[in-house]
């Protein structure tokens, strides 16, 4: 079984990336490929659902950080939801809540684009 499964979905104009497993130096190319595919297809409003993500290493954090300026330069945003305690703690250690809007549920993250 692969260490990371990435599924995509959409609700209206919001694209959703649902991750299951772990996001580290080994699995990050798979996440990057999915994110890049959505950006190339013109997606501007993105939600990363990390509900089933067991942990994220620096490579995974780097993938999020490295893409956010490009997304915002295009007038879009990437928002994150469903962090478990471990992932939330790592996000806080590096200050990611200053850079990303983080929500508890996917629905809240999607709705935030309508606000």
């Amino acid at each position: 079984m692969s260490q990371l499964q990435v599924e995509t979905g959409a609700q209206g104009v919001v694209s959703i990336i649902r991750t299951t497993g772990l996001l580290n130096a080994h699995t990050v190319p798979q996440f990057d490929q999915t994110l890049r595919g959505l950006l190339d297809a013109g997606a501007l409003k993105l939600v990363v659902n990390a509900e089933r993500l067991t942990y994220v290493a620096s490579a995974g954090l780097g993938a999020l950080i490295g893409s956010i300026d490009e997304i915002r330069e295009r007038g879009g945003d990437l928002r994150i939801c469903g962090l478990n305690e471990t992932v939330k703690s790592i996000f806080e250690m590096v200050g990611l809540p200053h850079l990303f809007q983080i929500f508890v549920t996917e629905e809240e993250a999607i709705q935030s684009f309508s606000a």
Binding site: Y55, A57, S58, L61, G62, E85, M93, V94, L96
Partner: protein
């Protein structure tokens, strides 16, 4: 000194999750709380990822050894490779906003390791790079040590 683990992993990123799990189990066996154990697992994984990227330049045919021991209420984990010498990155982490503005991905791993461990040492010994993480056992935490020495 009590040895807890000595194990070699190939210098291949597909083993990083296994490295993480092994280090986490060591931490759990030392009675670190779950969240701390998970962070220790992550710190060791980051060190091994560094070895793969910098010492072996991505080559999967090397090996990285994890050597964990407890001595004097301190968990010591050595991450050892026999690749090229590599210097600690000098571009210190200056915040996520700065990284984002540079569309830059690097620099976070070592920052995380330093934030998780009580101390981090980089040693070159013969043909080996040793990254040594030290973490005081939870029964006598850093705060306790500070208050004892005051």
């Amino acid at each position: 000194m009590k040895t807890l683990l000595r194990r070699q992993f190939p210098s291949d990123s597909k083993y990083l999750a296994e490295v993480n799990a092994s280090a986490r189990e060591i931490a759990e066996s030392c009675c670190f709380p779950q969240l701390d154990s998970e962070k220790i697992g992550l710190a060791v994984e980051e060190c091994v990822a560094n070895c793969i990227e910098h010492a072996y330049r991505g080559r999967p045919d090397g090996s990285v050894e994890i050597d964990a021991a407890v001595d004097d209420a301190i968990l010591r984990i050595d991450i050892v490779d026999r690749g090229e010498t590599f210097a600690e990155p000098t571009d210190a982490f200056s915040g996520v906003e700065a990284l984002a503005a540079r569309k830059h991905r690097g620099g976070l791993g070592l920052f995380l390791v330093k934030a998780i461990a009580d101390s981090v040492l980089h040693i070159r010994e013969g043909d080996r790079n040793i990254c040594r993480l030290m973490k005081r056992l939870p029964a006598l935490g850093s705060e306790d040590v500070r208050s004892e020495t005051q």
